[in-house]
Amino acid sequence: MKKTLALCALAAFSVTAASAQMLINGAGATFPQPLYTKWFDAYQKVDPSVRFNYQGIGSGGGQKQILAETVDFGASDGPMSDENLAKATHKLLHLPTVAGAVAVSYNVEGNPPLNLDGPTLAGIFLGKITKWNDPAIAGQNPGAKLPDIDIVVVHRSDGSGTSFIFTDYLSQVSEDWKAKVGKGTAVSWPVGLGGKGNPGVAGQIKQTPGAIGYVELAYAHQNKLPFASMKNAAGVYIAPTVESVTDALANAKIPDDFRFSMVNSPGAKAYPIAGATWLLVYADQKDHDKGEKLVQFLKWAYSDGEKFAPDLDYAPLPDAVLQRAVERVQTIKY
């Protein structure tokens, strides 16, 4: 008897909740989570009848959940592999939202501004360049006082989109890296210490004299860590900024399915170690009402939402890409 009562109460409760507000569930990448949270919060004022629930469970989880159709949209820091995409029962769209830079931060006495090129960075992370005063580094930084101490490499220990972007870049600029290590959200690092998450890596760089590592730009800013200017494909040393990442996006080759890599983008002002983040949405929405609300939200995100990006250290999409993304959203059927 009690059980029936409880069930009735539960049913009544869920019915009222559903009629009051539609809930759209998403899950995936943690990298864009601060921005998405901001979006969902701001969108509440635009359309109070819909509420978004986003779980930052990681890109791998996001891909799995959208494939299993347990969420209404997924989010991932890397495009899905062909193998994973083939598991989708119907057409799954990649929608790029913003891009972010991966900064190469370091802890050297006096923290002089540093210039680095791709092969040198690969050499350091392969364990071939082991001293800060190595000619490969000193040659690019004539004015800087570089000490004769060991380089301590710090990388992410957890699987992450940041690592994917970083190793993707190293694979592009170094044949040696491509052959020995390759790219991935987690790789078999030849040398170095693993720190958990951006805070872990930033903390370890700060704590360890002679350390070098990579973090999202926002974390380098927050922790007041210095970051290197990287030599881009055009041969110019460029610091990671919102503008230099947007420029990298504008110059990147973006195929029709939006599954692209933007590392080592051509363009004189493009920062080379950067990556986009995607929302994963089915082209045919099963639930008409939900699909409609989701499409409305996506249109809003591409018009008003993008404006929130720079304040949170994300690079908004350049106009040309934005245009293409909006056109893709308009093809979603519900």
């Binding site: 990681g58 220990s157 959200t185 987690a186 790789v187 078999s188 170095g192 210490l193 370890q204 704590q207």
Partner: protein, 329 residues
């Protein structure tokens, strides 16, 4: 005489039986028996389900790598090559280090508290130790990164390398984050459980033992050594094993200080990696099926190791209490 209820006890039984259902109705008894039985069965079911789920989730990896998973050193998500050995090594070594540090400290503290400390000092010390158990793991990790590791790197490790550097254990570059740092952090974290179990065990040593030793003219140290410690030996070993069980599964703080590098190095200054840490680190972003299955299999390995350790602990604790009660009566 003591076997029979005294008349007062009898009368209280009759008095209270008036609020029980009429004699003959054994339904509540039976219902309770079943309920309690089911509750305990549920625990077995839970362990079984966890194990089964892990086994089920790791099918692909088990099929692909077979038993060689256990002794393969490579962990390379890019090439889809997975082996558990560096993680098993890291888990066992960091836990053993922790036990080596925590058990002498814990037992010494327990001895002090039960045998030597003035009475008014005992309660405050016990409270402080038990408070350690309430500190969240991630706090230990942060404290490890920002306080302990710089100190270890600049002082203790340098000193160890200087004075014991001829041993392979204390050679190689000093980064701070290392197997030894992990061992020290885990030791601090398991100290409360080792200390409080040791204290209970030492308290269960009958006074007869001590008095007998004193009667033979033993000094205080001899009493502790012969009458107390040797009597409680097996129980203290059980405490160590229970601490080890904790140490094996410790994740968050270890992840933050061990350096997370799947290598097998002789040096305790080198970074390592544990089973629990790699699962916590890589599970969220594991996209390929084999990768995820391999992480599941690491979980299975960890579960089996932990269960084995706990079974051993139970057996030892049981034999210890059995012998103790035998001597008391």
């Amino acid at each position: 005489m003591p076997d029979r209820p005294t008349p007062t006890a009898m009368s209280s039984v009759t008095a209270s039986s008036s609020i029980l259902p009429a004699p003959g109705s054994r339904l509540p008894d039976i219902a309770f028996k079943w309920l309690a039985g089911m509750a305990s069965m549920l625990i077995f079911l839970l362990i079984f389900l966890i194990g089964w789920e892990l086994y089920h989730g790791s099918q692909l990896a088990i099929h692909q790598f077979g038993a060689s998973f256990l002794w393969t050193r490579e962990w390379n998500p890019v090439e889809d090559q997975y082996g558990a050995l560096p993680f098993i090594f890291g888990t066992l070594v960091s836990s053993l280090l922790a036990i080596l540090i925590a058990v002498p400290l814990g037992v010494a503290t327990a001895l002090f508290l039960t045998e030597l400390a003035p009475l008014r000092l005992r309660q405050p010390v016990v409270m402080v130790i038990e408070m350690l158990a309430a500190v969240p793991s991630v706090i230990f990790g942060l404290w490890g990164i920002f306080v302990l590791i710089p100190w270890l790197r600049d002082h203790l490790f340098v000193w160890l390398k200087h004075s014991l550097g001829f041993l392979p254990l204390f050679q190689g570059p000093i980064y701070g984050v290392s197997m030894l740092a992990a061992g020290i952090i885990i030791a601090i974290m398991i100290l409360p459980i080792v200390t409080s179990i040791s204290r209970e065990i030492l308290r269960s040593v009958p006074n007869l033992q001590r008095e007998a030793a004193y009667a033979l003219g033993a000094t205080r140290w001899e009493v502790l050594r012969i009458a107390v410690l040797s009597y409680a030996r097996r129980g203290l070993f059980g405490a160590a094993i229970l601490g080890l069980g904790r140490a094996l599964g410790e994740t968050m703080a270890v992840t933050m200080v061990i350096g997370n590098n799947p290598q097998i190095a002789a040096s305790l200054f080198a970074p390592g990696y544990t089973l629990a840490s790699v699962i916590a680190n890589e599970f969220a972003e594991a996209t390929s099926d084999l990768y995820l299955n391999s992480l599941f299999e690491l979980g299975l390995v960890l579960l089996v190791v932990t269960i084995l350790v706990n079974i051993v602990a139970r057996l030892m604790l049981r034999s210890m209490t059995g012998s103790a009660s035998g001597k008391v009566s």
